[in-house]
C-alpha cells in the first residue's frame, strides 16, 4: 500500500512561489491558445488542402505534359512548347484566386469566434484581470488568426513552388523571375494579415462566433457579387469585348476578394487575371490595380478593422 503523499493529496491552499515568465510573453499564450483551437478543427485542414486544389490540378497537367514528352516523340515538341510558354507567376495568382473561398473559410474557422465567443462568455474579464494588457490580447488574437490563415495560403503555394523549382527550372521556373519566392511570400503574408484584421474586426462586433462568421461571409460574397455584377452590366453597356473602363476595373477591386486579388497581382507583378466572365459576351480580364492604391486600401481597411477591435475590446460596458 502506498501512502498518498503527492502534492495533490494535500488539499489545503498553498500560494504559488515558483517562476514567472516575463510580462512581454503574454501575447504568445493567447496566440498559442487560438492556434491550438484551430489546428484541432478538422475543417481547417480540409480548407487548407482544398485551397491548394489549383496547384494540384496544375501539377497533374505538368505530369501529363512530362509524360507526353517521354512517351510520344511526335507530341514532344508541342508539349515542350506548352511548358516553355507557362507564365509561372500567373500560376500562383490563379492558385490564390481559385483557392480564395477556401482561404476565406479557413479565416472564418480561425477568426470569427476569436473575440465573439470571448464576448459571449465574458472571457475578457479573465484575460484583462490577469497581468495581460489589451495590447497583449489583441496582438495575441491577431497572431492566433494570422498564422493559421498564412499556413492555409502559403503551404500549398510553397509545395507547388518546391515542385516547380525541382522539375521546371529549365522551363524558366526560377530563371523568369528570381524573386518569385519572395513575391509568393509577400502576397501570402499581406493576404493573411488582411483576412486576420478584417475577421477580428467583424468578430469583435458580435457575441456569437457563428453570427460573426455569417456576417463576414455575407460581406465577402455580397460585395463580390454586387461589384462583379455591376461591372458586367457596365461592360455590356459599353459594348466592350476586351478590356474594361477604369471605373469597372476599380469596381472589381471594391470587395474583400477583389482587393485580395489586386494585392496579389501587385506583388506577383502580373497584369491579367482572373477571368471575368461577361453575360454572353465572352471573357474579360481585369488589369492590375495601381500598386499604392491596392496596398494602401489593404493597409487602411486592416487598420480600420483593428481600430474597431481596439474600441470594442473592454472588460466593462461604459455608458455615455
Amino acid at each position: 500500500m502506498s501512502n498518498a503523499t503527492g502534492p495533490i493529496a494535500d488539499l489545503s491552499y498553498r500560494t504559488y512561489e515558483g517562476p514567472l515568465d516575463p510580462p512581454t510573453q503574454r501575447w504568445k499564450v493567447i496566440a498559442k491558445s487560438n492556434i491550438m483551437r484551430v489546428v484541432k478543427n478538422k475543417w481547417y485542414w480540409v480548407c487548407l488542402v482544398a485551397s491548394g486544389w489549383y496547384y494540384g490540378f496544375m501539377m497533374i497537367i505538368l505530369v501529363f505534359l512530362d509524360s507526353m514528352v517521354s512517351a510520344s516523340p511526335g507530341q514532344a515538341r508541342q508539349a515542350l512548347e506548352q511548358l516553355g510558354g507557362i507564365e509561372w507567376a500567373m500560376q500562383f495568382l490563379h492558385g490564390y484566386s481559385y483557392g480564395q473561398h477556401f482561404i476565406l473559410f479557413a479565416a472564418m474557422i480561425a477568426g470569427t469566434g476569436a473575440i465573439a465567443n470571448d464576448n459571449r462568455t465574458n472571457a475578457l474579464l479573465v484575460y484583462l484581470s490577469k497581468p495581460c494588457t489589451k495590447r497583449d490580447y489583441l496582438w495575441g488574437k491577431w497572431v492566433g488568426v494570422f498564422v493559421p490563415v498564412l499556413v492555409a495560403i502559403l503551404i500549398p503555394a510553397l509545395f507547388f513552388f518546391a515542385y516547380g523549382a525541382m522539375n521546371y527550372r529549365s522551363f524558366g521556373f526560377i530563371g523568369d523571375d528570381p524573386w518569385l519566392i519572395f513575391r509568393v511570400l509577400a502576397f501570402s503574408l499581406v493576404g493573411a494579415g488582411f483576412h486576420a484584421s478584417l475577421v477580428l474586426g467583424v468578430s469583435s462586433m458580435f457575441n456569437q462566433g457563428r453570427m460573426a462568421g455569417a456576417a463576414y461571409v455575407g460581406a465577402y460574397f455580397i460585395l463580390y457579387f454586387v461589384t462583379v455584377l455591376i461591372g458586367v452590366i457596365l461592360s455590356d453597356a459599353h459594348g466592350a469585348s476586351r478590356g474594361m473602363t477604369s471605373f469597372t476595373e476599380l469596381l472589381f477591386y471594391c470587395s474583400i476578394g477583389g482587393l485580395n486579388m489586386g494585392m496579389a497581382k501587385v506583388f506577383l507583378d502580373v497584369d491579367y487575371g482572373p477571368i471575368f466572365v461577361g453575360a454572353g459576351r465572352g471573357s474579360f480580364e481585369v488589369d492590375r490595380p495601381t500598386p499604392w492604391i491596392a496596398i494602401g486600401l489593404v493597409v487602411l481597411l486592416s487598420a480600420l478593422a483593428l481600430r474597431l477591435v481596439w474600441r470594442r475590446v473592454r472588460a466593462v460596458e461604459v455608458v455615455g
Binding site: P7, I8, L11, S12, Y13, R14, T15, Y16, E17, G18, P19, L20, D21, P22, P23, Q25, R26, V29, I30, S33, R37, G113, N117, D118, R120, T121, N122, A123, L125, V126, Y127, L128, S129, K130, P131, C132, T133, R314, A315, V316, V318, V319, G320
Partner: protein
C-alpha cells in the same frame, strides 16, 4: 498594514458618478465591501484592476499605484467576477491552467497548479469536463479557482454567493473563510448580503451611492454606544431592576426577563454589579454579554435608511 488605500477616488461613467471622493484604507485579512446594488462596489473592484480609469484621485494596492502600475497590481491580485466567465471550449483544467499561463506561470507549472486549485475548490472530480456544462455552483467555484491559480496576495470577490443554493452558499463561504485566514492571502469581498459578510469578514466598508458611509471592524460597528451589557434572567424580576437602578445604572427591558444595562464602569465591574444585584434579588442569570447590534442595524444606521 493596509493592502489597499484610496485617496479621494472619483470614478465616472460618462455623466454618472459611480464613486465619489472615496477615501479609505483596506486592512489585511478578510474585508467586506457592503452596499446595496449600484453603490459602487463593483466599480471599485474594476478600478483596482484598471478596467475603468479614475476621474480624480487614486490609490495603491499592495504598494503599487493602480493607475500607473496596473500590470503589477494584477500580477498580485486574483479577481472573481460577478458574471459567469470562462474561456469558451476548454475543460476546467485547461481553463485554469490557461489563466495561470496568462498570469505568467510556465506551462508545466500552470498545469500542476490548476490541478491543485481545482482540488482545493472542490472540482477535482469534474476537472476534465467542459466548463460550459457546469452548474451555477460549479461555475462559481471555477471562477474562484482561476482567481487563485497564480497565487495572488489579494483576492477580489464580487458577489461570490450569487445564484447559489443554501448548501452551495455554505460551501463557498467556507472556502472563502478558509482561504482568507492563515494562508497569507487578503480578501476583499463585495456583497449586499449582510449575513455572508458577517460570517467571513473581520472588517467592513459600507458604500452607498458611490460614497463611503462607514468603515471599520465588524465588532466595532456592531458595538452599542456606552458599551452596555445584555442580561437574561430565568424570569422577570422587578427587585433585580430596582437593585441595578440603586447602583446608579440604567436598565432597559428588551423582552420579558431580558435587560440592557448601561453603566459607566468597565465591563468586568458592571458584570460584578449585575451578579451582585441578581444574588440579592434571588434571580438566576442565564446569559450576560456585551450588548451588540446586528450588522443589519449597523448597516441601516450607516446608510441612514
Amino acid at each position: 498594514m493596509a493592502v489597499a488605500d484610496f485617496q479621494n477616488l472619483t470614478v465616472k461613467y460618462g455623466s454618472f458618478t459611480a464613486l465619489e471622493d472615496f477615501t479609505v484604507s483596506i486592512p489585511e485579512g478578510c474585508v467586506g465591501l457592503l452596499g446595496p446594488n449600484g453603490a459602487g462596489k463593483t466599480t471599485l473592484l474594476k478600478t483596482i484592476l484598471g478596467f475603468v480609469d479614475p476621474a480624480q484621485g487614486g490609490g495603491h494596492v499592495l504598494g503599487h499605484d493602480f493607475a500607473k502600475e496596473g500590470q503589477m497590481v494584477r500580477q498580485n491580485v486574483g479577481y472573481m467576477p460577478e458574471q459567469d466567465c470562462h474561456i469558451p471550449g476548454l475543460t476546467a483544467v485547461q481553463f485554469v491552467a490557461f489563466a495561470g499561463e496568462l498570469a505568467g506561470l510556465p506551462g508545466n507549472q500552470a498545469l500542476r497548479r490548476a490541478h491543485e486549485v481545482l482540488e482545493y475548490c472542490g472540482l477535482g472530480e469534474a476537472r476534465y469536463r467542459n466548463v460550459e456544462t457546469y452548474s451555477t455552483g460549479m461555475k462559481q467555484r471555477i471562477k474562484l479557482a482561476q482567481a487563485l491559480v497564480h497565487g495572488p496576495k489579494l483576492l477580489l470577490l464580487d458577489e461570490p454567493t450569487n445564484g447559489l443554493d443554501p448548501r452551495g452558499r455554505e460551501e463557498m463561504l467556507e472556502l472563502i473563510r478558509s482561504v482568507s485566514h492563515g494562508k497569507g492571502l487578503s480578501v476583499l469581498v463585495s456583497s449586499h448580503l449582510l449575513k455572508d459578510i458577517e460570517r467571513i469578514c473581520d472588517h467592513v466598508v459600507v458604500l452607498l451611492g458611490g460614497k463611503l458611509r462607514a468603515a471599520g471592524q465588524i465588532r466595532d460597528l456592531k458595538s452599542v454606544k456606552g458599551a452596555p451589557v445584555d442580561v437574561e434572567l430565568r424570569e422577570h424580576n422587578l427587585e433585580f431592576v430596582d437593585n441595578i437602578q440603586k447602583m446608579g445604572m440604567m436598565v432597559e427591558e428588551l423582552r420579558k426577563g431580558e435587560y440592557r444595562i448601561y453603566g459607566d464602569a468597565k465591563l468586568d465591574e458592571t458584570a460584578r454589579h449585575v451578579f451582585d444585584a441578581a444574588r440579592r434579588a434571588n434571580a438566576q442569570v442565564r446569559h450576560l454579554a456585551l450588548a451588540q447590534r446586528s450588522l443589519e442595524e449597523a448597516f441601516l444606521e450607516a446608510v441612514h435608511v
